[in-house]
Symmetry: C2
Subunit: 325 residues, 2 copies
């Protein structure tokens, strides 16, 4: 059984890489860009290259499904790069392939706001996928980079599912039916995603959880069971959205970037603007076995638990990253 | 027998790629940067990606010695990227690995002038490899990018040979003993290069040839024989420096970049500032068989001709591009 977490953004350190090993993570998709332009994103890859050089016994740069299997064999964690915003490709479609060459495997078409490609989930009006958005989706399909609509609006998401000739992902979000947060997804979106062969990664970020920081493991597992009933177990994985060891200034950068001079609280508010506390059964990478145990206790079969904990993402990686370049 | 040309900079087009096939080129090292900073160099790779997408039956992006063998099997030409100047890494050693990830396999430490790394062959004083130069050579050694000293000064070149823990290359230059041009290399440099396992690529650029555009094939082959006597046949290959189909404004960019507001004529002069005419036996890629015939006529064995025309470069690629990342 492989264990994959398909979204994290931590203040990366040896401590965290050791925790990934302790938690049995074979692969983690890490965010390397929120608002960075191309050259800034490259500087973030330079930082990752330093981590790979410094801790080769713990982590390496993953690019394919086979790298997850290799990680398993070698007792290391494969790190996959992704962007939560298309800012690194600027206004230049040629940068899609360049970013793929540098190892990027996921790109969100939007991060909350309108982008050059589509509409984010915090805009009042969602005008759908733009002209450039259609071109970029086709280019992502060609090179083998996954379209991620976690932070996009409803219409844009449905259109992206329709336009993309490869299945897309919502790497980190939960169903709206369970917890009606702006970032959680409607049954409409979830069903279209499942029917197209796409993947949903369940988020552990408290703003996405019923009861927030107080959410119980039982409630979380019950949500997974209901989502499996709705769209099938094969479309489900974990995308924890774990944001570890960051100061609150980093959550502010994630929300505000350079797009406003004011403060935007995103999923928080003025009295609760920092990182919320994690549920006590999922504090960090060492707690993945708790989710596994919770699913087994809830009645999922061994096979279904393996699928949700990593095999579904691995199948998706195998198909999704195959390149035509 | 493999055929490799280890330096060209043309106004790339389908016509030229067809001529590579006609000339039997399995691999060509192409210059993708003279004075470009990182982001500008990336735009040049984007242009190459377009060529690869447009002409997949003729060319593909080469990254390893095995890609040369694959090119041979598939009847295509593998294109290897290189820089004639370290400008794409700016002042940032982390960009060495980034450029390797993007496929760069050769980098000159200087292009005629002083750089952050070493001294070019047109400076009056050569102070040798700089502090950053030593760090960058070590990083190039680690990632598998070849140090190229074609346009460097004597002292810097000797020091680079000494400092580098992998053999280096002079991809395109001729011996000074044959034609005393500023860009051609002393016996001292050639012997140190040969003894360290390095490679010399013979240039066909008329400013590097005895008799310039009127140089005979016999004289060119005689030079190769004398160089083989001096440093051994295993260190020799071709690096034609073919500059095809460019307007004279491009040779001006190569010489002047952004470093001066005046005109610098480089190897030319005010009355002869453009691209010189090529010798009639080497006009373009279709003429590689002429060199091969010339070497056989001159008395080289079949084995030595194969070595000079490509096998030596292929061995060098096999060893030189192996990465520790």
């Amino acid at each position: 059984m492989h264990c994959i977490d398909n979204l994290q953004f931590a203040n990366w350190s040896e401590k965290i890489f050791l925790q990934m090993r302790e938690g049995g993570l074979d692969a983690v998709h890490v965010t390397i860009s929120y608002h960075e332009v191309f050259r800034e994103m490259v500087a973030n890859i330079e930082d990752w290259n330093r981590h790979f050089e410094s801790f080769p016994e713990l982590i390496f740069h993953g690019r394919s499904g086979d790298d997850v299997r290799r990680a398993r064999r070698e007792g290391r964690t494969a790190i996959f790069f992704g962007f939560q915003n298309p800012s690194p490709i600027e206004d230049d479609i040629g940068l899609v392939e360049i970013c793929y060459m540098l190892g990027a495997r996921f790109m969100q078409l939007t991060y909350n706001n309108q982008s050059l490609l589509a509409t984010g989930c915090y805009e009042e009006e969602d005008a759908g996928v733009t002209r450039m958005g259609r071109e970029v989706i086709a280019e992502m399909n060609r090179v083998g980079m996954i379209v991620d609509m976690s932070h996009s609006g409803e219409r844009s998401t449905l259109e992206a599912i329709e336009i993309s000739n490869r299945p897309i992902a919502i790497t980190h979000a939960n169903p709206f039916f369970w917890h009606p947060a702006r970032r959680n997804k409607s049954n409409n979106v979830l069903q279209a995603l499942g029917q197209s062969g796409g993947m949903l990664g369940f988020s552990l970020y408290p703003h996405h959880l019923k009861g927030k920081s107080g959410c119980s493991l039982t409630s979380f597992c019950e949500m997974i069971a209901r989502t499996a009933d709705l769209i099938g177990v094969d479309s489900l994985g974990i995308g924890s959205d774990l944001c570890q060891d960051h100061p609150d200034s980093v959550v502010e950068w994630m929300r505000v970037g350079r797009w406003t001079k004011k403060i935007d609280y995103g999923e928080g508010n003025a009295s609760d603007s920092g990182f919320p506390e994690m549920p006590d059964w999922f504090k960090d990478n060492r707690d993945f076995p708790n989710i596994k145990k919770g699913l087994l206790t809830h009645g999922f079969s061994e096979k279904d638990v393996a699928a949700i904990m990593g095999e579904n993402w691995l199948n998706f990686f195998d198909k999704g990253f195959t390149s035509r370049i």
